[in-house]
Amino acid sequence: MPIIQLSNVTKDYALGETLVSALRGVDFSVEKGEFLSIIGPSGSGKTTLLNIIGCIDTATTGSVMISDQEITKMNDEGRTDLRLYKIGFIFQTFNLIAVLNVLENIEFPLLLMDKLSKEEIRKRAQEHADAVGLTQYTHHRPSELSGGQRQRVAIARALVTNPDIVLADEPTANLDSKTGATILQLMQHLNETQKTTFIFSTHDPEVLQYARRIVKIKDGRIVES
């Protein structure tokens, strides 16, 4: 039973008078524990696809099942719950909360869940900060960090809730190749140890060596899987 199943998903954006078809009928599924890369040129629809899987955007037509739940029929509340409890999202542009320090940013989803004790939350956040190599930076503000460090905060934040699925949109695009490699190795390590399903997009062929399965996308269609 795949953890993610897309059937004939389309996505149109209204761009002034004209409609832009970002996805033109995508069918694909992902099994639990996969480490998968979506590759395609810029503008091919990678971000759109990840946003739809991540419950951040909605499909125009088609069906999207995540853990057997049809998300296209869900309301805002249900999709927010999925984002919070099931999915970790790593954005291309990090998207940290500026007023919170590194540790607080990592704690944020756990605090939203409001399930663990304060001490437990702090402990988990600290562990994840250590895991991404930010032990010395836990009290820094995002603005005081480099791009790579910020991306690591975003990864720690995406993983701290132990999500079933981690989505990463070109996680290395804004990083130098060395930092990018470290981050991909980290993700790979987590996939192997925690059996977390990883999907990341990239247009950088060098990154592909880390993927165990590659899906190619072009003009909003999957061309090779």
Binding site: G54, T80, K118
Partner: protein
């Protein structure tokens, strides 16, 4: 939720400028509203104290024949209908457990006959002096002379009436046997430039053909504790002289009031004779006659000039309840009397005060609405500036309610800190304003102050009201910004980067 508060607090600190803008609006708004509430309360309390406790009482009983409730300042000096069966009516009034004092008053206009000039007019309250001072112990301040009591006949002339007479006829009234007090003369007027006068010659001014001229000795010059410019139109005269002047007599040529009063009247006639013929210094005036010489029979059933009963009630009782009870009792006993509120009896004067209150209240409401609009606007802008941040929180899994709480908390914190500070400073300002003892410059300002001095009043209720207004401002201001913020989707965070 702790995280909401933490993020809210950090946001407030990061956007200090904006926080300060909203904070100062909340502060100023709360301050103005606190002072405004206090001025309104001071106005209410002042009116209650000055009118109800010193002049009109809480309730006024009038005749059912009296069509207009506006009985004090009647247009064109229109007479007020006398109360028939006064003794029975009074019995009903005093029997009511809520009633503390009941003062029958005969209100009317008299012609003042002046020796060397045209006649003028005066408004009189015919009263039993003792009862008057029991009912309104601090209503009148003695300026000159001695306050009459018991069966003393004569007049307490108000400073206002004295000044009018002076302007009209260059006459300066002083109490019998007393000289002119120079410092009480209008500025620039010397004692030898005025004509001293210690008694008034009044001719009844009524619609019946039965009035007489009387001589009323001035016993005292009095000033009302508040609203002297307004209430000072009324001078006080003993009821016997008043009734004689207005021609209220029965067949026996004696006014039928109450037995007690009748006795006093007999006595008063003697006094009047004495006054007219025994006092060598006063020249009897040709028009004036003694009460005994030309008394005529009253043509209506009224045998006394009493046309108002001013009633003061137990402060713990309410005016409407007591009015209802009194009117029920009057109806039950078939008495031709009705009870009305002091405000109704004051007519336009009370309406002016109500208007002042409404203007003040309107002013407070404007501050209230402006505060809401400005805060709503600033918060909405803040919401729009924070689209990325909010969208991102939503993308990570923050629910819409979290975003709502974030806005409520941020505004709430500002509201508590700055709004309560505004209420606090407002309270201090009110206390300070009271200490200044600002005096009213004219009658209108006096109505606005509710008395001679500006005495804004802050009760616990007013402070409670201020806090309530603050809560309403906060809640109402935050609604629209929240609606904007709740519409922000995770996509807004992403597509903007």
């Amino acid at each position: 939720m702790n995280i909401v508060f933490r993020i809210a607090w950090k946001n407030l600190m990061r956007h200090r400028g904006k926080s300060l803008v909203i904070g100062s609006i909340l502060f100023t708004g709360a301050l103005i509203m606190t002072v405004g509430n206090a001025v309104i309360s001071g106005l209410d309390a002042g009116l209650a104290q000055n009118f109800r406790q010193r002049m009109t009482g809480d309730i006024v009983v009038v005749s059912t024949q009296q069509l207009k409730d506006n009985v004090f300042f009647t247009p064109m000096g229109e007479p007020v209908e006398s109360i028939d069966q006064l003794a029975d009516v009074l019995k009903v009034v005093t029997a009511n457990p809520a009633v503390r004092h009941a003062l029958p008053v005969a209100k009317g206009v008299v012609t003042v006959l002046n020796e060397d000039s045209e006649p003028s007019f005066q408004m009189l309250f015919g009263v039993d002096f003792d009862n008057y001072f029991r009912t309104f112990p601090d209503g009148l301040q003695l300026v000159e002379g001695t306050l009459p009591s018991g069966n003393t006949l004569g007049l307490i002339l108000s400073t206002q009436s004295r000044e009018e007479l002076f302007k009209f006829a260059n006459l300066w009234a002083v109490p019998v046997g007393e000289g002119i007090v120079t410092r009480n003369l209008p500025a620039g007027v010397t004692p030898d430039s005025v004509i001293r006068k210690d008694q008034m010659v009044y001719m009844g001014f009524s619609d019946r053909n039965t009035s007489l001229d009387i001589i009323a000795p001035v016993r005292a010059i009095g000033k009302y504790a508040a609203f002297n410019g307004l209430w000072g139109f009324f001078s006080l005269i003993d009821i016997q002289s008043y009734n004689q002047c207005m021609g209220y007599f029965d067949d026996q040529e004696a006014p039928i009031i109450a037995e007690k009063d009748q006795k006093l009247l007999n006595h008063s006639e003697q006094n009047l004779d004495e006054m007219l013929f025994g006092n060598a210094e006063t020249t009897p005036i040709s028009q004036s006659t003694t009460a005994t010489s030309t008394a005529t029979v009253a043509t209506t059933s009224s045998t006394s000039g009493y046309n108002l009963i001013l009633v003061r009630i137990d402060p713990k009782q309410t005016i409407p309840d007591t009015i209802l009870q009194l009117n029920q009792s009057f109806k039950k006993q078939n008495l031709p009397a009705k009870a009305i509120t002091w405000k109704a009896a004051l007519g336009q004067v009370a309406q002016m005060a109500s208007l002042m209150r409404a203007i003040l209240f309107g002013f407070v409401m404007i501050v209230f609405i402006v505060a809401i609009i400005v805060i709503t606007n600033t918060l909405s802008l803040a919401a729009m500036e924070r689209i990325t941040e909010i969208g991102m929180m939503r993308a990570i899994g923050a629910h819409r309610r979290f975003i709502s709480w974030l806005f409520i908390t941020e505004t709430g914190v500002l509201s508590i800190v700055f709004g309560l500070a505004g209420i606090g400073v407002g309270t201090l300002l009110v206390m300070f304003l009271r200490l200044l003892h600002i005096q009213a410059a004219n009658n209108l300002v006096e109505l606005f102050y509710g008395g001679t001095t500006f005495k804004p009043l802050l009760s616990i209720t007013d402070i409670g009201l201020g806090i309530l207004q603050l809560v309403v401002v906060t809640v109402v201001s935050v609604i629209y910004p929240i609606l904007i913020a709740r519409k922000i989707s995770p996509m807004d965070a992403i597509s903007r980067e």
